[in-house]
Amino acid sequence: MSFDFPSLLSADGAPVWAAALCTLAIWTFLIRDNPIYRLAEHVMVALAAGWGVGYYYYSYIHPVITEELIGQGRWFYIIPIILGLFLYTRFIPSVSWLARYPMSAYIGYGAGYYLAFNAKPFLSQVTASFVSFSQPAFTGTLNQIVFFICILASLVYFFFTISKERPAMGYASQLGKIVILIALGAHFGNTVLYRYNLFLGRLSYVLGEWMGLLQ
């Protein structure tokens, strides 16, 4: 096993060095906050924000100006542009309330969108909870019964304004809490290794592509 770094100045080597040094810069944060990490962090924000300018201009604004406004002559596309510019009125205190127009439109859209597009998935979650207990094996039936009880219990847990002082409600709510905690614990445990894969991918890059230790 011996190191085999790519040439820093070659067309193939330069990207590897760039990527590897960036990786190490972020990892230094694990020791403590330090100037190298700070630099990397500021570079990241600068690149991401700078990238956004070009990307979103060409995806959202440019097509509307060239195709809709100029190309098709759809004058009403000037409205969202004006509404968007209203956001900048916050720098002029006397008319800063104009910024509420685009905000209100956007939030209204969000409320409408939620109501419009989530009623159907909501119902499909309800119908998916209709379980059939007649299963080929006895354990299958038992599983379905457990599943059914767990769903009802977890629903009870969330009641906000209905008193849980009656014993039946109390027990159901307690069971619901346990079911939810099992669900969350299971979810956590199941996700750990997916998260490791990302780190291992970077480590493999540093050890392999950069240091040349992996064959």
Partner: protein
């Protein structure tokens, strides 16, 4: 998009949306009914204790005692994400408390539009608290539109500003673990709230208090104690009773026949 050959269902509805429309009508009807009851001054039950919401004032109080700032993030949601929309009311509350206690509020954003809205929310809150002079727009910051550039930047901000209270309220993705565990290293009081089911477990593990799923949507009613808002939560509970009954009925029907007419109707 509608395909040409799909005709309207029942003459007016788009295909497959009939049941959804009526379900929505019933739920909204229940909520609206309860709002009307509250407006009429009828008795509205109280919302059960939600520890995560009780802890908010305490967390801000502790930050005040320690002379350290409070950090609030609405997560990565678009400005029209319902969780982000719910976060505005929460931010309003937090900002008002910070204004009253004269505690610095650091508010970080990944979405420029949300940045603009939050700027308004916080300005209004300081105005209502009678402290417009204390409002500092430079503490409301933008950290690019990219998830991990934002996360790296917030981790850095934790180290430099050392917030004593960290309130994460909105739609979170993989950065939730970085935010919550990064805050835990600092020993700040952390309150996490999200309806993104895939992230709740991480908040539960790393935060002092977690609002699980819909508890975040009850926050505005809980904190304001307004009967009208509480009424909407009561309506929500009645809708839940309806769901409960539907599931029991549907399951009973599933034992009887091969075709479950209730499921068929609900899929219309």
């Amino acid at each position: 998009m509608m395909l040409a050959q799909d005709g309207p269902a029942l003459g007016i509805f788009t295909a497959g949306s009939v049941a959804a429309f009526f379900a929505l009508l019933v739920i909204c009807g229940l909520v609206y009914m309860m709002i009307q009851r509250a407006r009429a001054g009828l008795k509205i039950p109280e919302i059960r204790k939600i520890a995560g919401l009780e802890a908010i004032d305490e967390a801000i109080g502790r930050a005040t005692e320690m002379g350290r700032p409070v950090h609030f993030t609405p997560g990565l949601g678009d400005p029209y994400n319902i969780q982000t929309i719910a976060s505005y009311a929460m931010l309003g509350h937090v900002a008002k408390r910070c204004a009253q206690y004269d505690t610095r509020l650091l508010q970080t954003n990944v979405d420029p539009f949300v940045l603009a809205i939050n700027n308004e929310v916080i300005r209004q809150a300081y105005l209502e608290a009678g402290r417009p002079d204390a409002f500092n727009p430079d503490d409301i910051t933008f950290h690019s539109t990219e998830q991990f550039a934002y996360a790296a930047s917030v981790l850095g901000l934790y180290e430099r500003e050392r917030p004593a209270a960290n309130i994460m309220f909105g739609a979170f993705w993989a950065e939730s673990m970085l935010f919550a565990e990064g805050g835990a290293y600092l020993g700040s009081i952390q309150i996490g709230a999200t309806a993104n089911t895939h992230q709740i477990a991480f908040f539960v593990a790393a935060c002092d208090y977690t609002l699980i799923g819909e508890e975040m949507f009850a926050a505005s009613a809980y904190l304001s104690k307004e009967p009208v808002l509480t009424g909407t939560v009561v309506g929500q509970d009645w809708a839940r009773i309806g769901v409960f009954a539907l599931i029991i009925l549907g399951t009973i029907l599933a034992q009887i026949g091969d075709t479950n007419w209730l499921a068929t109707i609900l899929k219309k």
